[in-house]
Symmetry: C2
Subunit: 455 residues, 2 copies
């Protein structure tokens, strides 16, 4: 059955107040799909559906709802319901949810949380945004060093139900320091009386609470991990990060790069949910900066007023300015995109600058050469330019391509070295810089050639 049909039936059950049937129907769905269904409901129906949900899955469904629907729901339910909802949620989901709420609602939620959970939540809310600490959950399974396989299995059977994952077990010493990890698989396939210390992995890979989420994602991906333990400065285990959260981080970091590379202030809001004012605010700063820089481009042109307006070839030269600028910008953005992406994936570092630059220069020679021949023919045949004019345009284009390719590789790597985000050195900024450089090259060549030809 497809989604639309299912949604229709659920709505019919909801509208005809068949609550038991609705509960039964919802129980056939995945939590994610239930949350998706609830997305379109108004306050009253949302509340009704949520109360119809079986108790054991309502916290899970809640975690998948949109921030707006979460807030609507929290504002509609009573204090007791809030209390049991928060108690049933995994800590990382609860913290994520609270971070999205307005302050007054947070206060009401925290007032209705047990003291123990409240202290934990407050502690988590203090981790900086995008740090490993803010991503982690504390619902992992830890085992004391020295247990046997049989004892470990008993611990798991007793405490495993409340843990987000039990597939990687963390072995700690008396000081709570992380000394090993043990895949559940190894445990299950081992003899009952073996000591876990003898079968555990003694070199666990971990991150620190204050490490950036980008580092976490890179490490998980590099080592193909399912979960990543998080330790404090004394190497004491404080939490774990699961693969599903890491995937979200990867997409988030990619979105941020896409936005920076298009001269946008990064935003975590969904596009359709962002107001035009906010969108305008995210876009204006860079547009204003680049429009200011463009003053210089204008000055360069004004500087060569005589060349452009007085001479007969002036109009052909003017007509070629857009092509020269666009090609330069496109060449620069091709190179910078590859280099920025290479840096993000850990494939290129500052020490490769020489190698990358030499590669870009060779690419520039090939691409620039072909484009120059193409353009020479084009200006000659289409614009009826004289041979000197064709030569001016083609040679300026050739130099611009090589320069654009080189800048596209130098700027992101230098930015990275200086501690800036290489993604800022993408298309828009490079285009503006290449514009100025290419016009200067263009007019210098033009003046020289024309002087040589006595024009």
């Amino acid at each position: 059955m497809d989604w639309e049909k299912m949604e229709e039936r659920l709505l019919t059950l909801l509208n005809t107040c068949k609550h038991s049937e609705l509960r039964g129907a919802l129980m056939m769905l995945n939590e994610v799909d239930i949350a998706r269904f609830m997305e379109t409901l108004d306050r009253e129906k949302l509340l009704l559906t949520f109360r119809v949900l079986p108790k054991d899955i309502s916290a899970d469904v809640f975690a998948y709802m949109s921030p707006e629907q979460k807030q609507t729901l929290i504002e509609s339910i009573g204090d007791n319901e809030i209390r049991s909802l928060i108690e049933d949620m995994f800590l990382d989901d609860a913290v994520d949810f609270l971070e999205e709420l307005p302050a007054n609602v947070v206060k009401r939620v925290l007032q209705n949380t047990s003291e123990e959970k409240r202290n934990l939540i407050n502690q988590f809310l203090r981790y900086p945004e995008n740090s490993a600490g803010s991503l982690m959950t504390i619902e992992y399974l830890e085992l004391k060093s020295g247990l046997t396989v049989r004892e470990a299995m008993e611990v798991i059977r007793k405490t495993g139900l409340d843990k987000e994952t039990i597939y990687t077990l963390y072995i700690i010493d008396d000081a709570r320091r992380l000394i090993g990890i043990l895949p559940l698989r190894t445990l299950i396939l081992s003899q009952d009386d073996v000591k876990i210390d003898d079968i555990m992995d003694v070199n666990p890979i971990s991150v620190k609470t204050l490490d950036d989420q980008e580092k976490v994602a890179e490490t998980v991906r590099e080592y193909d991990l399912m979960t990543m333990p998080v330790v404090d400065n004394e190497n004491r285990l404080v939490g774990i990060i699961t693969a599903d959260d890491v995937m979200d981080v990867i997409e988030e970091e990619n979105t941020e790069d896409f936005e920076k590379m298009a001269a946008l202030t990064p935003s975590e809001e969904e596009y359709l949910k962002t107001s035009p004012w906010q969108l305008a605010k995210n876009r204006l700063p860079w547009l204003l900066i680049m429009a200011t820089v463009a003053i210089f481009t204008g000055m360069i042109i004004t500087n060569y007023e005589d060349l452009l307006s007085a001479s007969a070839m002036g109009i052909v030269l003017t007509a070629c300015i857009p092509m020269l600028m666009d090609t330069g910008g496109n060449c620069g953005s091709q190179a910078s995109t590859l280099v920025i992406r290479g840096i993000a994936l850990g494939e290129i570092e500052f020490k490769d600058l020489g190698k990358a630059l030499w590669k870009e220069i060779r690419v520039g020679l090939i691409v620039g050469g072909i484009l120059a021949v193409f353009t020479f023919a084009r200006v000659y045949l289409v614009n009826h330019g004289s041979i000197p004019v064709c030569f001016i345009v083609a040679s300026a284009l050739f130099c611009t391509v090589i320069l654009a390719k080189s800048l596209g590789c130098i700027l992101p790597l230098t930015a990275k070295k200086l501690g800036f985000d290489p993604a800022l050195m993408a298309s828009p900024l490079i285009t503006t810089i290449v514009d100025m450089a290419s016009l200067t090259i263009y007019f210098t060549i033009a003046t020289t050639i024309m002087r040589m030809n006595g024009l």
Copy 2:
């Protein structure tokens, strides 16, 4: 100990031929790090290190080596070694590896593989690139419907060692159809004599062998899955895809979008390993297309020759062309980036076109208004333009911004609707289109204003 020190010690052990010590030292490392260490070795040392590796981890280490080092190694080792290496590898790793090798080496490898494994590999090599089938592994654990928890645990203990993951168990009926999934966690926490059919999840989410890997990644991320079952057209279970492979797919798809959005032919090669010829070949097609389109931009300018060269204000108008073009291109690329990214993340669909367009028009009014005021002042103060000229430039900019924002939202969504990749409608193409439109607007406004003023 940091990586450089460890690497140095390993090299010392390798160079002084202390093979047992080297083996011991390597055993302290993660497979990924061993592969990283082997990356820098020449053929002879690579072979030596590989042979020193404990037998049970050599296939894992091999899977993490670069394609170049894998090929070097395969060419150096004997037939028997190839045989045992392939037998020890997980099927998906073996298939990935064979896809990277030249045909003659593939032949030698397949000749040294058992018939059963060879048939499986051949079957996998036939799945189209980037399909779910090409990503999956067959080392999963399936359970026949009707078993009890105790019987299931026995099956796992007996066969779990060779499986890539045992944390999600797949329940099949007599026709091998996938009828449920069971997290190992649920199994462990259940009573011994319960039937697995009573505790399994009966609505398993799955993909088909020919589904695109992008769909797989989206579904895994949406439902927070650790593994994704792959079924054939009759819903028979044929394989699973694990979260680590999904993360690689996510990064791969993102890289492809970055490349397309910078007018590059996508390539799966690492930047530093791609030859300048190949890079030039990936970049030229779009550059040539856009340089051809730029012919029309040139024609528009030539068309207004009189306006630009004869009148006194011509040079100011010419000087403002780059700023107008750049701002238009930047505005278009900001909008298109957000919309393309929104489509990729499943947040925006074609049916949202009206909503998105209305949003972009409002953003355009705000951003265009502010930029127009800024530009009016700038042309008046810096370029000493007359009031009519300032008005021409500012109003053309205002219209260009709104047009660019609208196109940045219409083009990607329309491309998606027509079955093209929205990422192609990014900055370079939009810039070229906006260039032509903005120049036409610019000159039309200029001619009108000047005629009105009798200039």
